[in-house]
């Protein structure tokens, strides 16, 4: 969530609560000769409030499961989640009088630290990554379609084929076929899947008369574009500036009438880079939650156990 003007009231409320609780703590401290602690009245109040806030914070995850229930808008919940979450460590620190305590409370402190830091990390990511995603990926796709979209690029390049016994039938022709004249109508060994494998492409390339001037493009496609579109992480085309230089070089060495196809291949490569970038940024935007959410529940459960034990014994 972007921190904007809508957060101003929450900022002041949190600030006020922080000042008030610290003042309360300082006012109460002299009343305890052995120093403030979690078992004093105020200590218990701080602890209880912190636990109540934690319960509210994890309730956000539950609310997401019933998004249309009339429990307040998700954005209001999120604002409360952020600011009350920021306040919690202070309340816990005041509750424990800035001491780690025994093993259990130390573990709880550790959990709180990881949850708090992961939350802040997530919040920071949300300030920058959405804009970055918008600028670097011109046409995003939904997460569930990313894999399919990446797979479709090679089909756009090579066309879609279907095995019919010993023959391969062209369902749609691809950029490469149109450009370098790879005719797929000849008899080739049956293949699995939609796109052609290396062996079949090599066989086809050998078999067909090359279109005049298309040889540099054909070689470039087989050596560079194809491995990249098939997911080779070491391919030079992964890098934008290398890609631009390589495509420029192919354009220089091929006749003008084939440049349109080169441009189309470059667009495919650019699209792949963008989709990969989208996947990376979207993972970044979400992965922190895999730490934040489960540890939040562990923290809440641990805090409840701690509370029961402390009050009972």
């Amino acid at each position: 969530m972007l921190i904007d003007r809508k957060h101003t009231p929450w900022f002041f409320v949190t600030l006020l609560l922080s000042v008030a609780t610290v003042a309360l703590y300082l006012w109460d401290a002299p009343n305890h000769p052995s120093g403030p602690a979690g078992n004093t009245v105020l200590g218990i109040v701080f602890g209880s409030v912190a636990l109540a806030i934690m319960l509210f914070l994890v309730a956000l995850g539950l609310k997401r499961r019933v998004p249309h229930w009339r429990l307040g808008s998700a954005a209001s919940w999120m604002r409360a989640h952020i600011w009350l979450g920021l306040l919690t460590p202070l309340l816990v620190a005041l509750h424990g009088a800035f001491k780690l305590g025994g093993t259990m409370t130390t573990v709880l402190w550790l959990l709180l630290a990881v949850v708090w830091l992961s939350g802040v990390f997530g919040l920071l990511l949300q300030q920058a990554l959405p804009t970055m995603l918008r600028h670097s990926v011109r046409q995003e796709t939904v997460a569930q379609q990313l894999g399919r979209e990446l797979d479709s690029l090679i089909l756009l390049a090579e066309g879609k084929t279907q095995t019919m016994g010993k023959r391969i039938r062209v369902v749609t022709s691809g950029i490469v076929q149109r450009c370098v004249g790879l005719s797929l109508h000849e008899t080739v060994p049956p293949l699995e899947g939609d796109a052609l494998d290396d062996k079949a492409v090599a066989a086809l390339v050998k078999r067909n008369d090359p279109i005049p001037g298309a040889e540099p493009i054909r070689r470039f496609y087989l050596d560079e574009v194809r491995p990249f579109l098939r997911g080779d992480t070491r391919a030079k085309l992964n890098d934008l500036s290398s890609s631009e230089a390589m495509f420029e070089s192919v354009r220089t060495s091929s006749p003008t009438h084939l440049h349109k196809s080169v441009d189309q291949l470059e667009t495919l490569c650019q699209r792949r880079r963008e989709l990969l970038r989208q996947r990376m940024l979207m993972r970044l935007l979400m992965t922190w939650l895999f730490v934040h959410a489960p540890l939040s529940w562990a923290l809440v459960l641990g805090s409840i156990v701690h509370g029961i034990i402390a009050l009972r014994y």
Partner: protein, 541 residues
């Protein structure tokens, strides 16, 4: 529809016994009809014989012929989601959370409105179906498939022979020739007046309380009007002299607006218009024009089907109002509502000169969904909320679409000023609600006409697992034998969560304030500002 597809459809050949002019002259329906086209194009009419239980045509399938029933009886029906009573044994979804929610009154939207049993479901036949019983019978002299034949529209219903039947199956060129014959037209008019008009009049809410004998008088006194696609029934500003009921085809209602015409609605079979001007004794406040079906619009060589209207003249109208004073109150209320809607729509008439806005169709949107991409974390909570908010569990929102500056315009209904999706529905199941949102009734036959018509991919087709008909066991036998095609999908469109007090669930559940539903007046004004900024290089487009 592509030219090639239209050509292929028209090249269909008939099965059965192909007839010559001499075979037809003995039949009343062909008396006075110029049968010369049959000489020129032999094989355009065939005599078909169907055994009891045989399926003649299936809803949703493409069709290019009309049928004239000579002997026997047929049953016509559509599949649809049956009412709650019949689905009462269906386990409720959602588990314990949904159960707790229901305890506290948190219910998903019933995605279709309630209906009275008498509400009309228009189909392409000389009879109509009702919501209470979506099945009817037809006998000798009835015609069905007229719209499929003339407009190449999908079949609106399934027709099954109830007894052994004989019928004429007629291709388009012959049917057109028949329509050119005054005798044929008069016969069809008489048939309509005799069999369907009464039901249509009764279906108009304001005539619901009119006594039978008065309705009978009205039935005899109304005029049946035939118009060509493109004909204007009346212009905005004309003197109001009649109200109209649509018998066949579609009518576009539009108003002048700054910068162009604004479409208020597309009305279809069973709808009525023109009552406001009559009631108030004022001039027309909108233009009503007959429109062609989208399948044949602008297809060279294809003449769109005529539009048929029932005209209730000023005298009959005044007589009714005088005899039923309560009618005036009802009409006033309806007129008030329509005027209010028109005024509200007029507010959206902000015109922008931005080509980009036009290109993206933003100008069309009266209530657009936008996603601020600088805020959106792509968590898909909006989509999940949409699914969760509707009792059919289908999303009306796909988080993909064009961008304008930092906004994504996702695939979700934008309540277009000109809702072209409403043109051509063979069963009239798509319409505009009073609050302007587009809704699809549960008798949708899944033909996809609306989804294909929507320029913004905002109508989704979703698979169905449970449909029924009012035919019960009879239908089940046909379905088991594979004789009737199961309707496997229906259209779904964003209803703006009109029934939820929280407003659209997508907006309500976005944790990042990224999802917006914007009033088009406000937003397009902002767009204009932004557009100027784009041209001056302030923001990137």
């Amino acid at each position: 529809m592509s030219k090639r597809k239209v050509k292929a459809m028209l090249a269909a050949t008939l099965q059965g016994e192909l007839l010559k002019p001499d075979d037809l002259r003995a039949y009343d329906i062909f008396k006075g009809v110029d049968l010369a086209p049959l000489e020129r194009y032999p094989g355009t009419i065939a005599r078909r014989r169907f055994k009891a239980g045989e399926v003649i045509c299936r809803e949703g399938e493409g069709g290019t012929t009309a049928f004239y029933l000579v002997e026997g009886r047929v049953r016509v029906f559509i599949q649809r989601k049956l009412d709650a009573q019949q689905n009462k044994n269906k386990p409720r979804r959602g588990g314990i959370i949904a159960w707790v929610g229901r305890m506290f009154g948190q219910r998903p939207i019933r995605h279709q409105p309630e209906h009275d049993a008498d509400d009309l479901i228009p189909i392409d036949a000389t009879v109509d179906l009702t919501y209470g019983r979506a099945a009817a019978e037809m006998g000798p002299g009835d015609v069905f498939g007229e719209m499929s034949c003339l407009n190449l529209a999908p079949r609106s219903a399934t027709v099954v022979a109830e007894t052994d039947c004989v019928m004429f199956e007629i291709l388009r060129n012959m049917f057109e020739a028949m329509q050119a014959s005054e005798t044929f037209v008069k016969r069809m008019d008489d048939l309509y007046r005799e069999r369907s008009l009464r039901g249509h009049l009764r279906n108009v809410p304001m005539f619901a309380e009119v006594e039978d004998e008065d309705l009978e008088r009205l039935r005899n006194e109304v005029t049946l009007v035939h118009a060509k696609a493109g004909d204007v029934v009346f212009h905005e500003g004309d003197e109001a002299d009649a109200m109209y009921l649509i018998r066949l085809g579609q009518v576009k209602v539009s108003q002048h607006a700054p910068g162009g015409e604004r479409t208020l609605a597309y009305l279809t079979k069973g709808d009525w218009f023109g009552e406001t001007g009559l009631l108030r004794g004022s001039t027309r406040n909108a233009t009503c024009k007959a429109v062609a079906h989208p399948s044949v619009e602008n297809v060279p060589g294809i003449k769109p089907a005529p539009i048929e209207l029932v005209r209730i003249g000023h005298t009959e109208f005044a007589w009714l109002i005088e005899k039923y004073p309560r009618l005036r109150g009802k009409l006033e209320a309806t007129a008030e509502l329509r005027i209010r809607d028109q005024q509200r729509m007029a507010k959206t008439a902000t015109i922008t000169e931005s080509h980009r806005v036009e290109e993206l169709g933003l100008l069309q949107g009266q209530n657009m969904m936008l996603i601020d991409l600088d805020r959106c974390t792509r968590c898909d909570q909006c989509v999940d909320a949409c699914v969760s908010a509707h009792d059919d569990g289908v999303t009306r929102l796909i988080r993909e679409g064009p961008r304008y500056d930092k906004y994504l315009v996702p695939s979700s209904c934008r309540m277009c000023r000109d809702p072209v999706c409403m043109i051509g529905c063979p069963v009239g199941s798509i319409r505009r609600a009073e609050d302007l949102h587009i809704m699809i009734e549960d008798w949708c036959i899944g033909c996809e006409v609306c989804a294909k018509q929507c320029p913004y991919d905002s109508i989704q087709m979703h698979a169905l697992d449970e449909l029924g008909t009012d035919l019960g066991q009879e239908y089940e036998q046909l379905a088991e034998a594979g004789e009737v095609r199961q309707v496997t999908q229906q259209a779904a469109v964003c209803d703006q969560c009109a029934d939820l007090p929280t407003g659209p669930a997508c907006v309500y559940s976005c944790p990042h304030d990224a999802a917006l539903r914007v009033n088009s007046v406000d937003f397009l004004e902002a767009m204009d500002v932004m557009d100027r900024d784009v041209h001056s290089g302030v923001v990137d487009e």
